[in-house]
Amino acid sequence: MGKARGFLRVPVFGSLMLIVFLGIVGMMFMGPPTIAAEKKVIVQAMDRDPDILDTIKAAWYSDALIYLHDRLVSRDYNFRYRPGLATSWDVSKDGLVWTFHLRQGVTFHDGTPFTAKDVKWTIDTIKDPKTASPFAGDLKAIDKVKIVDDYTVQMFLKYPFPNLLFNLSNTASGIQKAGCYDKYGDDYGIKVVIGTGPFMFKEWVRGDRIVLVKNPNYHWGPEWMSNQGPPLFDELVIRTIPEESSRIMELVTGGVHVLRDVPPLQVDKLKNNPEINIFTEQSTKLGYLAYACDKKPFDNVLVRRAINHAIDRDTIVKYIFNGHATPAYGYLPPALKDEYLAESEKLGYKYDPARAKALLAEAGFSKGFETTLSAENDSTSKRLAEVLQAQLADVGIKTKIQLYDSASYVAMLKAGQQDLFIRLYSWPNADILDWFLLSSQFPYPNHSRWRDPKTDELINSAATAPTWEERAQRYKEVQRHLIEQAVWCPIYIPDMMLAVRKEVINFKIHPWMIQYSDGIDIKTK
């Protein structure tokens, strides 16, 4: 009989257990009560979490790295190169020796001073084969770095390289503290990040968010900013939300304040939302359809040109991007004012399905052919792939679509399994053409599998041009040749659109990255 009473307790016991459990969980995760009204936090949403928060070792650079570190050279709102951690620089007559004069009074987040040895350490470590830095190739022009004194550094180049300023202003060139690897070992880039930037590293919950706090000692902001001191708000949180619709819903409900890369289909709906402001600018991106040029039938220039004629770019811009893009006929975005070939549209291939069929017939494919079309599985690429499939089918090219997430897409391209595939690059410099089309980059990142001596010759000549102007000229020749050879089928240049909640004040759009330390602030309730 005694046994029976025991089981009355089960539901009661269960409820008690639940209450206790929830209480413990709640206490653990609510943390100390935050006085929300007093701390100013801006939240930005991203679609992926970085592998590591280390500019030297990362293959993909989280936005956080831009705010944790400063670079020798900064880029202003007109994309001009301005002083950063280097207050000025001189180049020798032969273009082989660059002397950088460094800013004084700069300290790292741990309080130690910034000096020339940190610059040397950073660049040496990037170039060290043992580090296996993905950025090493970008600095291959540098032969060695010499410390002249605490605030002067000289870089000796193997050949003239006016583009060095671009590379030194890149996220990957964030100046790190000498010896941080020895001091922190494997923790560096995961639990500890030290830089000189306007924000300091607080915590990284893997897969969920990166929390940065303002650097109260920061007073060396670039001169072109309206604010050279610490950021006006307290915390910057970068949240990882893989689902596109969740990112937008978070923006609408106020869980997130800043969204980069608004999907074009949602832009108009967000524009009508009084709580959200949309900022638009010409982007430095190019979306294109590429071929595996060493596989039949794409090794035939007639086929490549035919496909160029088969694509109706205007329809794509109108319906996939809701008009928030520009048709592309060339290989660089027009935003790169100096290097962009202005006649790209004139020399490019217009929409002309009849001509496409004629060219295919000339190449021996009057009945068309079958192939695969690969793309990433984000909403824009998926839709673009299906529209391209329909347009190619109109000229007799039957395609089977294969979708991948970003990591497996890269793996697939490295393995060389692609035929037709969609790509989008985002890069503010003409050397993107080196990256993708030099035969030395075969098979990846030269996933077009394009090995052409003339292209190599033109690109190498441009990359080693002695002056910026000469360089721009030669890159225009490169573009001319690429258009003629129809190496890619350029399709669109998307507008750069950011969605920002109205609580965020003084938001300005910057051609490269959001400059949170330049006077941006947030209204608290």
């Binding site: 009989m1 005694g2 046994k3 029976a4 009473r5 025991g6 089981f7 009355l8 089960v10 539901p11 269960g14 409820s15 257990m17 639940l18 459990f21 929830l22 969980v25 709640g26 995760f29 609510m30 943390g31 979490d49 592998d51 590591i52 919950v205 893997r206 897969g207 969920d208 968010r209 949240r239 990882t240 939300i241 893989p242 689902e243 969740s246 819903m249 978070e250 609408v252 409900t253 869980g255 991948y404 997430d405 990591a407 497996s408 793996a411 490295k414 393995a415 990846y444």
Partner: protein
């Protein structure tokens, strides 16, 4: 809970121990079997196992080095023993994409999934038990039909769809809870409710059946004929015997709940093991896939064992077997 057990006699202890020994053997065998299956998955896959371990962008020499290093050029049985040795030392290999030990990646996210699974399970049983009992007691009345209809809808819903609906209506339109993320108890509510409610739908039916079985038994009729109040009959006799098999259910549902949390973590962007597994599958990061599979199934099997042990403690009849 000592009043639940009859006075322990020597033979009683022996029988208990024998039961435990049997269960432990079964446990070890199941775990071994699971490792064999997961291990052989690597070799059953089409293509060269090397591709799955190091990825496609390595030179042939590095390939052969890695092949030798991982012992993939040795007979399968030897490979299996090597695999088990590493496993028992906690070494689950290294991620191809992130170049970090798999065990580290798993450790970072383990608690997230654990928290979700346990909360979901508790919610499920808290909802299901009262509903099941009520439906059984009011058998064939409107209440019963209504409750069972709702439960039928619950078991017919894909979990991810229910999660999306909750997300859209409760989090987005009503703004009662966060849409995604991890950190406070608020972030746990919707994901746990998603799994908890769909699981409860099934468990409620089982509770109802069990209750109905018990209520039909002779000893209940005896109690009633003795003139005891219905409430006493139910609470003292029926409930306890009906709930005993439900406890084994706990063990069975753990597997389902963990499986459900894989999808729910993706819908609600929780950084847990399930999401790690699916992301790694899409990224072809095989060592991580293998590692998370092993950890998840070990937890499920251990969970089953826990439920069995609980059952044994609670049901005195076990000793007679």
């Amino acid at each position: 809970m000592s009043h639940l057990l009859p006075p322990m006699k020597a033979t009683g202890v022996v029988i208990m121990l024998r039961y435990f020994a049997r269960r432990m053997t079964f446990l070890v065998l199941t775990l071994l079997g699971m490792t064999i299956i997961i291990f052989s998955m690597l070799h059953l896959a089409p293509g060269d196992p090397i591709d799955l371990i190091v990825g496609p962008n390595v030179t042939p020499e590095v390939r052969e080095n890695i092949r030798h290093q991982y012992g993939l050029d040795r007979p399968l049985v030897i490979q299996y023993f090597g695999f088990m040795r590493s496993l028992l030392h906690g070494d689950l290999g290294e991620s191809i994409i992130q170049h970090k030990p798999v065990s580290e990646l798993i450790a970072e996210r383990f608690f997230v999934t654990l928290e979700l699974s346990i909360t979901a399970l508790v919610i499920s049983f808290l909802i299901a038990i009262p509903i099941g009992i009520k439906a059984a007691l009011k058998r064939n009345t409107i209440t019963d039909y209504a409750l069972m209809a709702v439960s039928l809808i619950g078991i017919s819903m894909p979990t991810f769809w229910f999660g999306l609906m909750l997300l859209y209506i409760v989090a987005f339109k009503l703004r009662l809870f966060p849409i995604s993320g991890y950190g406070t108890w608020k972030h746990l509510v919707l994901p746990a409710l998603t799994i908890g409610i769909t699981d409860a739908a099934l468990v409620a039916r089982m509770v109802r059946s069990s209750m109905l079985e018990v209520v039909r038994q002779d000893y209940i009729r005896t109690a009633r004929s003795k003139g005891l109040a219905e409430r006493v009959v139910i609470n003292r006799h029926a409930l306890r015997n009906a709930l005993i098999p439900i406890i084994t259910l706990l063990g069975l549902r753990i597997g389902w709940v963990v499986g459900g949390s894989v999808v729910v973590e993706i819908v609600f962007a929780r950084p847990g093991l399930g999401r790690l597994m699916v992301d790694s599958i899409l990224a072809r990061d095989y060592p991580v896939v293998q590692g998370t599979m092993i950890v998840l199934t070990t937890c499920i099997i251990l969970g089953n064992l826990f439920a069995d042990v609980l059952y044994a403690i609670v049901d005195p009849r076990i000793k007679l077997r």
